[in-house]
Structures are given as C-alpha cells and as structure tokens.
C-alpha cells in the first residue's frame, strides 16, 4: 500500500483536477480555440514537453511505498522503515552511493588529498579513490577516459533507441490507423504538420539523449560530483524537482478558491461586501511580502515546537513545513489575482447576458456559477501560469533566508544555501551550484515561455 503525505495527496488531487480540466477543455470548442494558438507555437510546445518531464519526475517522487526489511534498498540516507518514493527506487544506486566528502563530477578520486597508507606500508599524501565513483576501474589513469567514452556512447545509443520507440508509439497513437504513421512522420520531418511536431520530436530526442547519457554514467560515477558530506549532487537535484514543482503549483492552487470567492463576491455584490474585501486585501498587500512570510514562518515554527508529538518523524515535519510554506506563500500572493477578478466581475455583471439572466429570474448562485465564473477562467489561468516561475525562484531565496522549506528537504534553495561558501574554497567546488542552476533554469525558462504563450493566447487585449 502506498503511503501518502499531505502534500502528496494534494499534488495528486491537483493532477487529477488538471487531467479533468484538460478532458473537459478538449470537448469544448470555445475553450479549445485559444489553446490551439498556444500549441501551434514552437517554443510553447517545446516548453510543454520539458515541463511534462519535470511533472512526471515530481509525480514519481510523490508516490511513496513502504520498504520491507528484506528489500534490496539498504540506504544510509533514509532510516529503515521510512517509505521511499518511486523515484528513489529508480535511483536506488546513486541514492545509496555515499562518499566521504567532495568529489568532482565523474571523478574517480576525491577532491582533496589525504594521508593514505599504501600497500607497501608507506604513507603518501595523495587523492584517495572514491567508494562508488569509478570503483570498477582497476587502473583509473588509463581506463577512465575510455570508460567514460564507452558509457557516453552507450547512453547515446540507448537514448536514440528509446526516442525511436517513443516516436513510433506517438505516430501510431496520433494517426490512430486513419492514415499511415510513416506519412505522418515524413510530413512532421518536413515541418508540414499543423502542430510543430518536428520541434516536439527534436526536443524529445534531446531529452532522451540526455537521459540516456545520465543513466549510463550514473551507474558507475557521480555525474554531478558529490557534496560536502559526500551525497550525490545529481540525486539531490532530482529530488529537488518535486519541491520546486510543488511550491510552484500547490501555492496558487491552494489559495485559488479564496481569491475566486472573495473576488467574485466583491465585484458582484459591491457595497459593504466590496469595502470589507477590498480592505482585507489592501491590508495584506501593504505588508512587504518577505516580511509577512518571515513572520508567518516564525509563528509556524513555534507551533511545530509546541506540538512536537504530532511531528514525530522527519518526513512528516518536513512535509508539514513544505505545505505551510505553500499556504503562506499563497496567502501573500492571492491579493493580486483577487483584485483582477473583482475588476473583471464588476465589468461582467453589467453585461447584457448577465442582466438578461437576472431578469429571467435565474438565482444569484447560478448566475455567479454559470455566467460569471467561466468568464473569469482566462484570468485564473494566466495568473497561475505567470506565478509558477516566480514561485520556483522565490523558494530558493526563502530557503536561503532560512524561512523556506525544512533544511532536510531536498530543494534547490537548500543546495545553493549549502554551497554558497564553496566558491571561496581553493580549488573551487562549483558543481553543486552548477547543478542547481541547470535544473532550475531548465524548469523556469520553459515555464516562462509557456506562460507567455498562454497569456498571449488568453488575454483578450492581446488576441487579435
């Protein structure tokens, strides 16, 4: 039986909701039209592919299964009995591969020299071999380079094979026997398809090549090196994906109901309801965001200290803190959306079709639900899309100020925080930062591009 933490449940529910929304959208012509202009954009489609890969990893990392004692995973990083996620299972090897301290990417020896007693009994001041990285090499000086090349070639081959399978599968599914899959592939290659399939397939090719090389290399090396206490940096970065994606999505989704309800009420009923709600969000908005978050996180910490018994295990503690961070971040960011929704509702309530509904005696709840709410959808969508990337970036900053996620949670913010003094070392330890940078950039850039495409398609002022 899978074990679910609160954030897992919320995340899975959100994905289900998303799937339902997609299914609903596909059946409604008026909703499909703006999406068509999104998916015709090459950059948006490539971004979507990358975002889906991130989402998939986050999903794999959100399904936990308890480990029985006879399982082959005997890890040092998580205590026995704590459930591990599907991603952990997949990464079993690099999860358990611990070194003593820093080692460079793909290295076979440690980053710093040590006194080592050699076979002939003499002591030498040299670089010790790693426990995991390149363990299988008998003679690293000569074999290292050729082994790397062999593995990279193997990985590239596997990547191409995987991509070919995926492409074939896609072609079969997309044509659904209505036409020849080969025809589809040929026209995709020439860029003659309606949707930018060539760009999508090329993006998939790049991703599978990267994945193939990473998998091939991480069987025997630390691809991104190891950190201060010898943990694999690639593993950390991969685990951080869930934290980043969760904060980017749950935060807005969790506070969406609040912004929606208050915004619609304020705009539709006006009068004192409007005054109270406006007062509420102006007050909240006046407090500088970081300070409000800091204050709320301090209060939350002392709440956790008071109820120590409820947060017995490390995982529940970290999970509660992640959830609290999402809610607190949401509390500071719902005001902007609420204001937009209020203004739009004010406009909508005066339109003829709403007036007509009122005259015809449609109940107020029905007017709000059927006539106002659907027409606010584009604002919500744009806001969720635009907020995602800034939230992922905010997580890093907050974790740096120690008001972000729990220090035991893997997150890019914690990685940067832990690594910021490493640049001052001699020689420089750059790989933790580089890895966090690459993984973050590869998420935030597509998110920004996709959000831009969504905004261009849905914003009535921008649509032609």
């Amino acid at each position: 039986m899978p074990v679910l933490l609160p954030t897992d449940i919320l995340f899975l529910l959100m994905l289900l909701g998303l799937a339902a929304l997609v299914a609903y959208t596909l059946r409604q012509e008026h909703l499909r039209r703006p999406w068509r202009s999104v998916i015709r954009s090459r950059s948006a489609m490539i971004s979507l592919v990358i975002l889906l890969v991130y989402l998939l990893i986050a999903l794999l990392d959100s399904i936990r299964i308890p480990v029985s004692s006879n399982a082959h995973v005997n890890s040092t990083s998580a205590p026995i009995g704590e459930p591990v996620t599907l991603l952990d299972f997949g990464l079993g090897r690099i999860r358990d591969a611990q070194e003593k301290t820093y080692s460079a990417p793909l290295a076979v020896v440690a980053h710093a020299r040590e006194m080592i007693r050699q076979a002939d009994g003499r002591e030498a001041w040299t670089y010790p071999r790693l426990q995991f990285g390149g363990r299988h090499l008998a003679n690293p000086e000569q074999e290292h380079a050729s082994d790397l090349i062999r593995r990279i070639a193997l990985g590239l081959g596997a990547g191409i094979a995987g991509w070919a399978l995926l492409t074939g599968f896609l072609a079969l599914v997309l044509t659904r026997r209505r036409s020849d899959p080969m025809d589809f592939l040929r026209s995709a290659w020439r860029g003659e398809t309606d949707l930018p399939w060539r760009a999508v397939l090329l993006a998939l090719l790049l991703i599978s090549l990267l994945a193939g090389v990473l998998v091939a290399l991480c069987q025997a090396y630390h691809v991104f090196g190891t950190g201060k206490v010898g943990e694999d940096v690639l593993y950390q970065s991969l685990k951080s994906i869930r934290t980043g994606v969760l904060i980017g999505t749950l935060t807005t989704v969790a506070t969406l109901p609040l912004a929606l309800v208050l915004g619609i009420l304020a705009g539709y009923y006006r009068g004192w309801v409007d005054d109270v709600i406006q007062y509420l969000y102006t007050t909240l908005n006046s407090v500088p965001g970081v300070l409000l978050i800091a204050a709320a996180m301090l209060v939350m910490q002392s709440y956790m200290a008071r109820h120590e018994a409820e947060f017995a295990s490390l995982a529940t503690r970290a999970d509660f803190r992640l959830l609290a961070l999402c809610l607190i971040l949401g509390m500071t960011s719902w005001t902007g959306l609420c204001r937009l929704l209020r203004a739009e509702t004010l406009k909508l309530r005066e339109l003829e079709y709403v007036q007509a509904a009122r005259v015809l005696g449609v109940s107020q709840g029905m007017i709000l639900f059927r006539h106002i709410l659907p027409n606010l959808f584009h604002l919500v969508l744009i806001s969720v899309a635009l907020d995602f990337s800034s939230l992922v970036l905010a997580e890093a900053v907050l974790s740096y100020v120690n008001i972000g996620v729990d220090p035991t949670t893997e997150s890019w913010g914690n990685m940067i925080n832990g690594a910021r003094l490493e640049m001052a070392r001699e020689p420089v330890v750059w790989w933790s930062l580089a890895s966090a940078f690459i993984f973050m950039f590869a998420l935030v850039l597509p998110a920004n591009l996709f959000a831009d495409a969504v905004r261009d398609a849905f914003d009535p002022r921008r649509a032609e």
Partner: protein, 325 residues
C-alpha cells in the same frame, strides 16, 4: 490639494490599524509569549519560573487586551496590546528580545541600506530603460527577437546565482572590488559598486521586458504616428515623444518603492555583509527575535502606504488630466 492629501491620510489610518492588528494577532495570539519564551530558553528542561522571568523582563507578562486587575485607565494601558502594539504608531519600537533599543538600531542601520538602495535604483532605472528603448528602436528585427529571448533567459535565473556568480567573477577572479563588507564615509563607495552592478544585472531581464511593453504601448498611439508623419527621425520620436509620455507609468512604479528603499534588500545586504536594515531583519529572523520582526513588518507596511500616497500625489503633479476626487 491639501484636502485630497488629508483625505488620503485618513484613508490610510484603518489600513495601518489593520496591519497593527494583524501583526499583533500573529505575534501574540497565534503565538503566545509563552511560546516565545520557550523558543528562546529551550523547549525542554525549562522551569516555569524561568519563563515568567523572561516574560517579565520583556514586559510580556500582561494580559493581551484587557487588564482586569488594574485600576482606571490602567485596565486598557497595562496590556500587551497597548504597550507593545499601539506604540508602533508613534514609532516607539521598544526593546528587542535581546534587549537592544530597536528605534536606535533602525536609525543607525538605515543609512547603509540607503547607500546601496538609492544607487541601485538610479543605475537600474537608467540601464533598464536604455536597453528597453534600444529594443523598441530595433523592433521587428532579429535584434529585438533575440533581445527579448535573452531577457526571458535572464529572468529565469535566480537572483542568488547573479550574486554568487558576480561575487566570484568580479570579487575573486578579477579582484576589482571587495567581495563583501562595508565601511563608513567615502570608503563605502568601494563596497557599493558590486552590489549595485549585480542588482542591476539581476533585474535586467524583467526590467527591460516591463519597460519595453510600456514603450510599445505608447509607440502605437496616434501622436507617435503624427510625429513620424511630420518627418521626425525614429530616434527623436522615441527619445523625446515616447519616453516623455511613458514617464507617467514609470514614475508610478518608482515612487511607490521610494519609501521602501529605507528598509533595504534582505538578500543583497546579507550576501554583501552590509550592516543595513535588511541584514538586521535577517538576523532577527534567524535569532527568532519577534520584537524586531514585528517592528519591521509594521515599518515596512507604513512605508508602503506612504509610497502609495506619494504615487497618487505625483500622478496629479505630472498628469494634468488626472483630477482629484
């Protein structure tokens, strides 16, 4: 005009009261002084006498809103709300949980914050607007396309990387400026350069994109077409006509942050070890000094509200079409 300002000031009062209450509820009701004492003295092995002593020393041992045991006006004044929260309205910040005078600390620490924030604002504004105008000048060319793409890429990098990368490149490899630190008087200039440059770089992507949309919106208006039709050069149209008219939204964006310059930037100050209000706040957060965080929350909100007020006033000054009502 005076009427208008007074009305706006009165409108700000309930907001301030709301913020005061919010801070009070967060720091004293949700989180009781007892919890604060426990966090400072340790969770376990702490006697109730020690907690009472800690609370008494800091004046947290009174009732929240209403003191039934006191006489006369003391019933309302000898409470935490009166002594700790209402005092903020008069900028009486009281003492921090560590025993320091918060008001004096703020008065001293706001200068380094300003020394970083003001040059950052001016340089940032000039550079961002300059690049945005360039992009608009070269619109519908490959230069614009790649410029905008670069902006999106720059936006997608966390501020932390700009700071760490900048410190490493300029401070450590090139050794042009000190990596971090601060000094009084004119010596401070050496320490200010790097934070200002990095701050400008970090905001480049979003800044240029924002100003570009402003300029593009202006550039499509009729007066611009008229100016072109008159035969004015594109550069003249952009730098004189468009820039001048786009100044209004730019101004509102700038004026609202002016008062907040006092409180400085948390991240920048902490990375560059600048003894300003930002690092003061970070230290308070890390030491869980609730008194300082409460003061800073209130101060920040007051400054923000002042910023909004200034924005409204500046609107009426620069745009004659805006009527006071």
């Amino acid at each position: 005009m005076i009427d208008y300002i007074i009305r706006r000031l009165l409108y700000a009062l309930p907001l301030l009261l709301g913020i005061n209450l919010l801070a009070f509820v967060l720091f004293f009701v949700v989180n009781t002084p007892e919890d604060m004492a426990r966090m400072h003295l340790g969770q376990k092995h702490v006697t109730s006498e020690a907690i009472e002593k800690w609370k008494h020393e800091r004046g947290y041992d009174q009732p929240l809103f209403w003191n039934g045991q006191a006489e006369g006006a003391g019933r309302a004044t000898q409470t935490i709300f009166y002594q700790k929260s209402l005092g903020l309205f008069l900028f009486r910040f009281g003492r921090s949980d560590g025993g320091r005078d918060i008001g004096a600390d703020i008065g001293q620490r706001m200068w380094p914050s300003l020394a970083i924030a003001i040059p950052s604002l001016i340089v940032g504004l000039a550079v961002h607007i300059g690049f945005a105008l360039l992009l608009v000048f070269f619109r519908l060319t490959y230069l614009e396309f790649w410029g905008v793409a670069l902006c999106v890429a720059l936006m997608s990098v966390s501020t932390l990387f700009y700071i760490i990368g900048g410190q490493f490149l300029v401070g450590k490899l090139l050794q042009l400026t000190p990596i971090s630190g601060y000094d009084g008087g004119w010596n401070a200039v050496r320490f200010i350069i790097l934070p200002v440059v990095i701050g400008t770089m970090a905001g480049l992507g979003s800044g240029v994109r924002w100003y570009r949309t402003l300029f593009l919106e202006e550039a499509e208006k009729d007066y611009v077409r008229t100016a072109r039709a008159k035969g004015l050069s594109e550069a003249r149209v952009l730098f004189f006509h468009v820039l001048k008219n786009a100044m209004i939204p730019i101004l509102t964006g700038v004026v609202v942050v002016l008062p907040l310059l006092f409180t400085g930037s948390l991240i920048t100050e902490s990375f560059f070890a600048i003894p300003g209000l930002g690092s003061y706040t970070i230290d308070a957060i890390n030491q869980q000094d609730f008194a300082i965080v409460r003061s800073m929350v209130f101060l920040g909100s007051v400054l923000y509200i002042i910023g909004l007020l200034l924005t409204d006033i500046s609107y009426t000054l620069v745009d004659p079409r805006v009527k006071l009502s």
